[in-house]
Amino acid sequence: MTGGGSASEPAPAVARREAPILPEADERARLERAWSVHGALAWLRDVDHKHIGRRYVVTAFVWFALAGAAALLMRLQLMRPEGKVVGPDLYDQLFTMHGTSMMFLFAVPVMGGMGIYLVPLMVGTRNVAFPRLNALGYYLFLIAGLMLWGSFFVGMGPDAGWFAYVPLSTAFSPGKRVDLWAQLISLTEISALIVAVEIIVTAFKQRAPGMTLDRMPLFVWAQVVTQFMVIFAMPAVMLGTTFIALDRLVATQLFNYTEGGDALLWQHLFWFFGHPEVYIIFIPALGFVSSIVAASTRRPVFGYPAMVASLVATGFVAFGLWVHHMFTTGLPQLGESFFTAASMIISIPTGVQIFCWLATIWTGRLVLRVPMLYVFGFFSTFVIGGLTGVILASVPIDTQVHDTFFVVAHLHYVLIGGAIFPLLGAVVHWFPKMTGRMTSERLGRWSFAFVFTGFHLTFFPMHLLGLYGMPRRVYTYLPQRGWGDLNFLSTVGSWVLGVGVLLFVVNALWSMFAGARAGADPWAADTLEWATESPPPPYGFLHLPIVTGREGLWSPGARSAFVTGLDPDKTELLVTNLLDAEPELRYFVAGPSIAPLFTALSIAFVFATGMFTPWGPVVGMVPLFLSLLGWIVKSEDGERGGERPSTASPPAGDDAAALSAAEAAG
């Protein structure tokens, strides 16, 4: 879509460090000119993956904070029986916004954003494959979040739950609340699919020479598996939400049983996405853990092949579990047993990974800094979530605990323990790379203590509440049910957790301006992003690195060779082949453009007005067409000052020479 003037160029040669072609300062200046964005509206035209990735992460944390505030309000309401803090109408909106934001606006985009930032650096390239498409993805995500929270603040927040079961979300939800939800989910998932395309292509076709597939960092493997899952899972929910919108707006009756539709169809569509979604959130976190463990134990993660196989296996099996969300709908027993088995089998790859990390920690030299604290928080919390998951996979037990606070506890142990703890650790771990400054270790430890204690205080009692009979999604409960004490404990815990998150944010903000300066590689870690400055320049690397082993910068011979031959005056990327990362061609990527923003606005216009009038999408096609036209036209020009690379096909001999040079270097 945004390929621009893709051109086959002779692949660059590989040079030894001793023979730089240009003086370094000169080359830096020319690269800077080619890759940075200047002029009017620079912020809006920017397509640098580091800026887009950072925006994803920061924006996602804003939605995280809002959704967290919604959770604190819910906990206040549930603190005492028959609480009067909020009424049922607002409470339903709060938990819908909490779930929707956390899943769609925080967890998936923040993991994708970390990938957008880190994957190109980790594979040693200058930008993602399709920079303008990348910007479009961010703008769609931003607009969807603004509209969802904007609508909540004016009193039309969706209120049918983040799962929006029909027919409650169709015939029994008056107004535009659910229409808005359905449209914005579709909008957000376009953004997720864009991220998936970017990361997969970048990881598969832009790896530095020498980084064969079996030398790809575990973090990148985790991202690739995740993004493939996104490509298979997100269309299911987009289809489902579109069906809901159609049912509500033009009476397609897809889910209306009186007209031959089926209420359970939605549940199948939703959970076919919804269960992989959990792993879409969780698998990138496994990548964080691997990176942090390797850096903090001073050794490569044990069992690389087993780790990779486990990630891939998890990605496959995750698509065979969705019915365990529907064990109480009266499906046939044999089918349910199959899904029980699949739900249990998926613990094996996860278990293998945990054993590998434990082996790494046991045989490495442990350095206990804040990121590693979060990894220990991950072990001690996520394992509980995983084990309660095994309990939930059993059909008979599930009929008791399904849709109760036991499940609320389970899912937060999995998602906070399994994904948010590693994410917070990852933010601390990569903070010096992103900002050039270290976070405060002391404040970080305090924040960890609060987050960890608050988390367990909040969610552990919920296991018991579920067993005692408290269903989910209730806005209040009667005093005689005896759930008051545990709920009170849980509410207290939620505020401790809130303080912990606040400390984390304070730490990040303070460190951004006043933190100690970090060098290029403060953790002496192994992956390629630590080879460039902190924060990295717009062009990523002065010279694209060449990888000599699975351990990246720790491998013998690392940093001794680099790639030359890329034109420093043009936005050129080096494309390598899928398996062996042998140089194939130089690839000219499109530069800054305002077109992605206008495209995003047009798409959002189509989705938003489509709720009110069928003419909306028709009218919206005009600006959409114009934006795309501008996108295509502008991507062809040489606005960088450089000329378009020639499209003449290279002589075969050059390729062969470059390949052999890369092999010699590796």
Partner: protein, 358 residues
């Protein structure tokens, strides 16, 4: 450094104690862990198997994870204040092929043990599931039909011989002790889920489908139940009381429920009946034997025989009844019953009449 460590261990100890305390609480027999019927008993049995096995697994993993952290304190990094420095240039561990091979064996063994434990749990689960469902197939169960409404339960005891004598009630399900009950579950609007934790797991009520649920109460008593699937504004107050009676008492109750409503016994009740019949009540409620025959709201024929009103939300006393009739939105915002600004005497008479519907 030392104080920080001491603080950390104190924190860990406090947390551990709190969790242990919570666990002890968890062992008290409540809700699903205090079964009063054969299905719930077998489920609780299975639960404890799963609980203890997973608890052992957790402790093993936790020990494996934390021992290196605690045992190797002297290798901890320099104090936090020096965080800006690069990590003490620690070299990558030299390869020790022998040790790596040993690790491979250990991790493989760990994976195999995980698999074995999971297979065992899977077998336990399937076995437990069939134990629960096999308990159900008996001759002549008691048939009860339940229809879910936003936000109450319509309960019908069909009478195959004399269909006009079916008993209809709401939100209070009576069953005989020791007899299998077969519930036919349907929904009138959105998806609900029937759940009485002390008797059995839950089963969804799905519009357009019919689901079945079997259970047997082995102990007499009142058991709380609730809708477990989010069904809109008053999902929280869609309660249910299950009353398990000895068979004789149950038969007597059912016979009484099949009768039409009692006639007013005094002037106040008579006036109450007139208020009832000439106000908005009759548009939604029915009282068998009177002109009130609408089916949009709970059947009130034997309202006074029920222990609660508003779907197990309020005790059935005249005071609660009066305030419910006058402004039910105060108790259950969003429920379908409109506020009824009746005159004081009319309200008293109406409550007296409702109180006479035994």
């Amino acid at each position: 450094m030392r104080t920080a460590r001491r603080r950390a261990s104190a924190l860990a100890a406090a947390l551990g104690t709190a969790l242990a305390g919570a666990l002890v609480l968890g062992c008290t027999r409540r809700g699903a862990l205090d079964p009063a019927g054969i299905q719930a008993e077998r489920l609780a049995h299975l639960w404890w198997w799963f609980f203890w096995i997973t608890a052992v697994v957790y402790v093993v993993v936790l020990v494996l994870a934390l021992v290196p952290a605690l045992a190797r304190r002297r290798r901890l990094a320099a104090p936090p204040t020096s965080a800006a420095e690069p990590l003490a240039g620690a070299p990558v561990l030299p390869r020790e092929p022998e040790r790596e091979r040993r690790l491979v064996r250990v991790v493989t063994a760990g994976g195999l043990v995980t698999g074995a434990v999971l297979v065992a749990l899977l077998i336990a689960s399937v076995h437990g599931g069939s134990a629960v469902s096999s308990a159900a197939f008996v001759e002549s169960p008691l048939d009860v039909e339940i229809v879910g409404h936003q936000w109450w339960w319509e309960i019908t005891y069909p009478n195959t011989d004399q269909p006009w004598k079916a008993a209809t009630t709401a939100n209070e399900l009576h069953v005989p002790v020791g007899r299998m009950v077969r519930l036919k579950l349907q929904s009138n609007d959105v998806i609900h889920s029937f759940w009485v934790p002390r008797l059995h797991g839950k089963m969804d009520l799905i519009p357009g489908r019919t689901t079945w649920h079997w259970f047997r109460a082995d102990r007499a008593g009142h058991f709380a139940g609730q809708c477990a699937e989010f069904c809109g504004l008053q999902h929280a107050h869609m309660g249910l009381v299950l009353v398990a009676d000895p068979p004789a008492a149950f038969d007597a109750w059912l016979d009484a429920q099949r009768l039409p409503a009692a006639a007013p016994a005094n002037a106040a009740e008579l006036r109450g009946k007139q208020v009832f019949e000439h106000s908005s009540c009759v548009l939604c409620h029915s009282v068998r034997g009177t002109i009130a025959g609408a089916r949009n709201a709970p059947d009130l024929t034997h309202l006074a025989s029920r222990g609660t009103i508003a779907a197990a939300t309020l005790p059935n006393s005249s005071g609660h009844l009066a305030s419910w009739v006058r402004d039910s939105q105060n108790v259950k915002p969003g429920n379908a019953m409109p506020p009824n600004p009746l005159h004081e005497e009319d309200l008293q008479a109406l409550v007296a009449y409702l109180g006479s519907l035994r």
